[in-house]
Symmetry: C2
Subunit: 104 residues, 2 copies
């Protein structure tokens, strides 16, 4: 099982519409990716580790797939729909990484 981590940096003044993200964007991603997408977790940043510090990321999504190949196949067929929807909820350019789940 692999995880695609999508990080939205907490940039001053940047907008991030969590309601649209959770109730419109992610449901669309689920429909597009279908059975290849095994699970989605969404974290909303509250605070940094040091007292009074801001969260590094305003939002983090974790998308689980059986394999990197399964992710790429599903994503490549829906790139335009998924990436084209980003401006509807944020002006932030996300950072993406692919991880292997070591423990869950």
């Amino acid at each position: 099982m692999i995880k695609v981590n999508v990080f939205y940096p907490n940039e001053p003044g940047a907008k991030f519409d969590m309601d649209y993200y959770c109730n419109s964007h992610i449901p669309m991603v689920k429909r597009k990716l279908g059975a290849a997408l095994k699970r989605v977790d969404i974290d909303q940043g509250l605070a940094g580790g040091a007292p009074g510090s801001p969260a590094t990321y305003v939002a983090i999504a974790h998308l689980l797939f059986d394999s990197v190949a399964a992710f790429q196949k599903a994503f490549d067929a829906n790139t335009d729909a998924i990436l084209g929807d980003i401006p509807n909820y944020t002006s932030i350019e996300p950072i993406i990484q692919i991880s292997e789940i070591q423990m869950d």
Copy 2:
């Protein structure tokens, strides 16, 4: 439910002993934090989002608690043991943030 995200930046030349982390550090953290710690997920970075790019983080831990207060109470009583063990598996200074779970 809140999540403490712990990010280990993928710094060139830095060591990260995933075996020690998963089989010694995290089990110790679980023993110390006891019932306050509801769940731990560990991600190991494989690659970045762009073809051939490196992962931003060599490892990410996600620790779930009922509330920020529950996390702080459990962590504050065990700070020395947990932070003092970090040099045993890495020279990387982790980035920490506290998140609210929006979807899982």
